[in-house]
Amino acid sequence: MILSYALGFALTCFALALVLNLIRLATAPTLTDRILTLDTMTVNAIAVVVLYGVWAGTGLYLEAAVLLALTSFVGTVAYARFLLRGSIIE
């Protein structure tokens, strides 16, 4: 009982955080801010996917969360490197 309320609250918080990130993505002053915002969005999305999996009562969503966690880091590093070097694989 108390847990489902807490779960709903946490899901709302993470969804609201995603909306805030979306606003930041649209109004970011610099490119680096956009990369940082994308990174944060992926981390928030991982939390949303995991909590939705708990809500739905299945462990399948954890696979999607693992994939997101694995790929977001590579994406962030590649973006940052592209901004600095102009190419990713030299």
Partner: protein, 121 residues
């Protein structure tokens, strides 16, 4: 599942959600680029860590099995968050987006990111 465990997991869930919200709000509102780097990389990691902890110990409706996959995600996020933050900080400094007020290093040497001399073999 005992009541004490339920209350503990509920507290972790609520705290984690609030942390994530504060981190994203800080990303939106903080004035300087380096401060914006500081807000989400810490707070969101704690938020996601709390969500993963709750998911690992409280499989709510299906009832009770401890699962280990969350720990894989948590370990990977905790390993990669500092590295991507370092990359973004380097990008900020090298693109002159960090603002002009980098503090003195107090060692006589310049900031390692801006140091052009090659390292000694």
């Amino acid at each position: 599942m005992t009541l004490l465990l339920e209350v503990l997991i509920a507290v972790v869930l609520v705290g984690g959600g609030l942390f994530a919200l504060v981190g994203s709000y800080g990303l939106l509102r903080l004035p300087q680029a380096m401060q914006r780097l500081h807000a989400p990389t810490k707070a969101t990691t704690i938020g996601v860590g709390a969500a993963l902890l709750a998911s690992s110990f409280g499989d709510l409706p299906g009832g009770g099995a401890f699962s280990a996959q969350e720990w894989l995600i948590a370990i990977f996020l905790l390993l990669t968050a500092p590295i991507s933050a370092l990359f973004l900080a380097k990008t900020l400094i090298l693109r002159d987006e960090a603002g002009t007020d980098l503090p003195d290093t107090r060692t006589g040497a310049p900031w390692a990111t801006l140091d052009q001399t090659p390292p000694e073999p």
